[in-house]
C-alpha cells in the first residue's frame, strides 16, 4: 500500500489531473471539459436478466482463463498419481501379495476399469465444491467484495444461481480433463475397459453431478464460518472422497452392508455410479432411476437451499 501511494501523490492525481491537460485554463469544475464521461448522460441500454447473467459468466470465464494452469494442474495431479501408482506401479511390482488385488485376475475387471469413472467423478465433485466455496469465502470476508456483483441489476438469488453455474462449469471441465489422463495411464494388460454405453446417462450425470456439487459447495460456503474451513476439509471433503465409491463400485459393498447404506448420504456415490452406468455398463451398478432421481432432485433442492442461505448472507 505504501510504495504505490507515493507515485500517486506526486504523479497524476484523480479527476482533477486528467482535466488539467485538456482544459489548462483552470476550469471551475475539474471534470467539466469531459461532460460526457461522468454524471448523468445519454440513456444506458436496459440490462436484461439474461444479459447480466451472461456478463457474469463472461467474468467467470475471464478469471478462469487467468488461473487455468494453476487450477487445473491441481485438479489433475492427484488422480494422475493415483492411476500411476495403482494401475501402473502396483501391477508391475508384483501380482502376488497385497498388490494382487489391484491386478486384473482371470478375466475380471482391471482396477483401472473401476478407477476411471471413480476418479472422473471425484474430480467433478471436489472441483465443483471447491470452486463454489473458495471464492465465496473471499467475497464474504470483511471487505465483502461480493458487493461488486450484489449491486448488479438482478435479484440476489439469481447471483447465487450464477455462482452455481460457474462452479458447475469448472467441475465439468475438471471431469473432462481428468478423463483422458486416467484413461491412458496403466501398465500393459491393465487397460480399463471403458466405452460410452449410454450417452444420455453420461450427459445427465456430468451436468447434474457438476451442478449438484456446486450448489452443495455454495450451501456449505454460506453456512460455514470461514475460520472453520479447515474443519470442513477434514470432516466433509476427505470422508466424502474416501467413501464415495471411487475405488470400488457401490454394488461391491454388498459385503459391508451397513456401509453400503450409510454411503447413500454421500452425493459423490451417485455421480460415480452414474458414470459407471454410462462408461462401464458391463459392471454391476446402481439402477438408473436411483442415481438419476437423486442427481436431479438433489440439484434442485441444494440449489434452492443455497440460493436462500446465500441471499441471507449477502443481504444483512
Amino acid at each position: 500500500m505504501t510504495s504505490p501511494a507515493s507515485p500517486n501523490a506526486t504523479g497524476p492525481t484523480p479527476g482533477g489531473t486528467t482535466e488539467e491537460p485538456a482544459g489548462s485554463e483552470s476550469a471551475p469544475s475539474p471534470a467539466a471539459p469531459r461532460n460526457e464521461a461522468a454524471g448523468p448522460g445519454p440513456a444506458m441500454p436496459r440490462a436484461t436478466l439474461t444479459g447480466t447473467f451472461l456478463a457474469m459468466m463472461a467474468r467467470e470465464v475471464r478469471v478462469m482463463r487467468k488461473n487455468f494452469l494453476s487450477t487445473f494442474v491441481r485438479v489433475l495431479v492427484q488422480p494422475l498419481m493415483f492411476v500411476f501408482v495403482f494401475a501402473y506401479v502396483l501391477p508391475k511390482v508384483g501380482s502376488g501379495a497385497g498388490a494382487g488385488g489391484f491386478a486384473s485376475k482371470d478375466g475380471g475387471p482391471t482396477f483401472a476399469t473401476i478407477l476411471v469413472p471413480g476418479l472422473v467423478g471425484s474430480a467433478i465433485v471436489m472441483q465443483g465444491m471447491m470452486a463454489a466455496i473458495f471464492p465465496l469465502m473471499m467475497e464474504l470476508s470483511w471487505q465483502r467484495s461480493i458487493t461488486d456483483r450484489a449491486l448488479a441489476p438482478v435479484p440476489v438469488p439469481v447471483l447465487a444461481l450464477q455462482k452455481i453455474t460457474a462452479a458447475g462449469l469448472q467441475a465439468l471441465i475438471a471431469g473432462l480433463l481428468v478423463f483422458p489422463c486416467v484413461l491412458f495411464v496403466h501398465a500393459g494388460g491393465q487397460a480399463p475397459n471403458i466405452h460410452v454405453g449410454n450417452w444420455p446417462v453420461l450427459l445427465l450425470t456430468l451436468v447434474t453431478g457438476s451442478l449438484m456439487c456446486a450448489s452443495g459447495g455454495l450451501l456449505l460456503g454460506t453456512l460455514i464460518d470461514p475460520q472453520k474451513s479447515q474443519v470442513l476439509f477434514a470432516l466433509v471433503l476427505v470422508p466424502m472422497s474416501m467413501l464415495g465409491c471411487v475405488y470400488y463400485p457401490w454394488a461391491a459393498l454388498d459385503h459391508v452392508r451397513w456401509l453400503q447404506i450409510v454411503t447413500l448420504i454421500n452425493p459423490m456415490v451417485y455421480v460415480n455410479e452414474g458414470l459407471r452406468t454410462a462408461l462401464t455398463p458391463q459392471m454391476e451398478h446402481m439402477p438408473i432411476w436411483a442415481f438419476g432421481s437423486v442427481l436431479i432432485l438433489g440439484t434442485a433442492a441444494l440449489s434452492w437451499a443455497a440460493a436462500r442461505t446465500f441471499t441471507r448472507r449477502v443481504l444483512t
Binding site: 500500500m1 504505490p4 501511494a5 500517486n8 501523490a9 497524476p12 492525481t13 484523480p14 479527476g15 482533477g16 489531473t17 486528467t18 471551475p28 469544475s29 475539474p30 471534470a31 467539466a32 469531459r34 461532460n35 460526457e36 464521461a37 461522468a38 454524471g39 448523468p40 448522460g41 445519454p42 440513456a43 444506458m44 441500454p45 436496459r46 440490462a47 444479459g51 447480466t52 456478463a55 457474469m56 463472461a58 467474468r59 475471464r62 478469471v63 487467468k66 471464492p135 473471499m138 470483511w142 471487505q143 465483502r144 467484495s145 461480493i146 458487493t147 461488486d148 456483483r149 450484489a150 449491486l151 448488479a152 441489476p153 438482478v154 435479484p155 440476489v156 449477502v314 443481504l315 444483512t316
Partner: protein, 320 residues
C-alpha cells in the same frame, strides 16, 4: 434520464436493528430523509452513528427492519432491481473485484448493466482516463494505493451513469491532495446534475460540498438543514473547552448564570462552555482555576461551525 419528478431519495421512519448472537443492535432508529434530484446531501455523524447502515438500506444491501425507503420512487425492499439500475455506490471499504484488473472492473460493471462488450471497453477506457488511472489499467486491486482504489471505486460507480450516487466516507484515509482532487471531482459531477448522497466524518467536507446536511447520531437525525441554516440555529454558540490539572473548580458553575452563556458541561477534569458571546469566558475559567489552586493544561475555543453544531447537538467531541 433524471426524469423522476419526486425526490431522488426518501426515507420515512426507517429502522434497522441487527440481530446478532450477542444481542440486538439498533443501528438506525427512525430516520426521515428527503434528497431532491441534483442535490448534494451529506450525512454527518460519528463512528457507529448508523451512516453506513442507512446507505446500505438505500442501496438494497441492508434489509430495513421497518419503515420505508425509496430511491427514484422505487421502494428498496420491494423493487431492489429497479433501485440498483439507478444507483452508484462507493462503499467505505475496498469492494473491488479482486480477481480482475482495474480496467476489467470497469469493463464488467458496464456489461452487468447492459453494455455490449465493445461499448463496455470504450466506457472503461473513458473513465480510466477521467480518473487518471490509465497507467494503472492492468493493476490489480490489492496492488493499488488507497487513493487509486477510491478513484477506481468511484469510476466503477459511474460506469452506468446512475441517477443517484452514494458515497460512504469517500475521503477517509486519503492524503490532502487526493482529498482536494476528489472534492473537485465531486463538485464537477454535481454541477452537471448528479444527485449525490455522501457520508462523512469531516465537518469541513460537509461544509465544502453539501447543499444540505443531516447530522445523525445513535441512529436518529438530530438536525437537518442547509449548512448555513444549521449554523444559524443550533450552532451559533462558540464552544470553549478548558482542561485542568486537577478537579474542575467549583467556581466555574458561576458561569452558568453569566450573560451570553447557553450552558456548561462539566466532565472529568474538563469543562465546556457553550456561549453566544464568548468574550471573557476563557479568562473567567482560568481565574476560577487559579482561585481553587488548579492549573489549566489545555484550552480551546471553537467558533460557530458545523463542528460546534455537532458539539451542541450531541455533546460529543467529533472524532475520526
Amino acid at each position: 434520464m433524471t426524469a423522476s419528478p419526486g425526490p431522488a431519495v426518501r426515507t420515512v421512519d426507517l429502522h434497522k436493528t441487527y440481530t446478532s448472537p450477542r444481542g440486538d443492535v439498533p443501528a438506525v432508529r427512525g430516520i426521515d430523509l428527503e434528497v431532491r434530484p441534483g442535490e448534494f446531501f451529506g450525512l454527518l455523524g460519528p463512528n457507529g452513528a448508523g451512516k453506513s447502515t442507512t446507505i446500505g438500506m438505500l442501496t438494497t444491501l441492508v434489509v430495513p427492519t421497518s419503515g420505508t425507503a425509496e430511491v427514484c420512487g422505487f421502494d428498496v425492499a420491494r423493487r431492489p432491481v429497479e433501485v440498483k439500475r439507478r444507483i452508484g455506490m462507493v462503499s467505505q471499504n475496498n469492494t473491488l473485484d479482486a480477481d480482475l484488473t482495474a480496467f476489467e472492473n470497469l469493463e464488467f460493471r458496464g456489461r452487468y448493466f447492459g453494455l455490449g462488450a465493445r461499448d463496455a471497453r470504450r466506457r472503461a477506457e473513458e473513465l480510466l482516463e477521467l480518473f487518471g488511472l490509465t497507467d494503472r489499467r492492468k493493476g490489480v486491486p490489492f496492488e493499488m494505493s488507497g487513493g487509486q482504489v477510491k478513484r477506481l471505486m468511484i469510476a466503477r460507480a459511474l460506469v452506468h451513469r446512475p441517477e443517484v450516487l452514494f458515497l460512504d466516507e469517500p475521503t477517509a484515509g486519503l492524503d490532502p491532495q487526493n482529498r482536494a482532487n476528489l472534492w473537485e471531482l465531486l463538485r464537477g459531477l454535481q454541477s452537471r446534475g448528479q444527485t449525490i448522497l455522501l457520508t462523512t466524518h469531516y465537518m469541513e467536507e460537509a461544509e465544502a460540498l453539501c447543499d444540505r446536511v443531516a447530522v445523525v447520531d445513535h441512529g436518529t437525525v438530530l438536525a437537518s438543514d442547509t449548512v448555513e441554516g444549521l449554523k444559524g440555529s443550533a450552532g451559533t454558540d462558540t464552544v470553549i473547552t478548558v482542561s485542568f490539572d486537577g478537579a474542575v473548580p467549583e467556581g466555574v458553575h458561576a458561569l452558568d448564570r453569566r450573560e451570553g452563556v447557553s450552558r456548561i458541561e462539566v466532565g472529568d477534569g474538563q469543562v465546556r462552555v457553550f456561549a453566544r458571546s464568548p468574550a471573557g469566558v476563557l479568562g473567567e475559567l482560568v481565574a476560577a482555576g487559579a482561585a481553587a489552586g488548579v492549573g489549566v493544561t489545555d484550552a480551546a475555543q471553537l467558533r460557530p461551525s458545523l463542528e460546534t453544531v455537532f458539539l451542541t447537538l450531541t455533546g460529543r467531541e467529533y472524532r475520526d
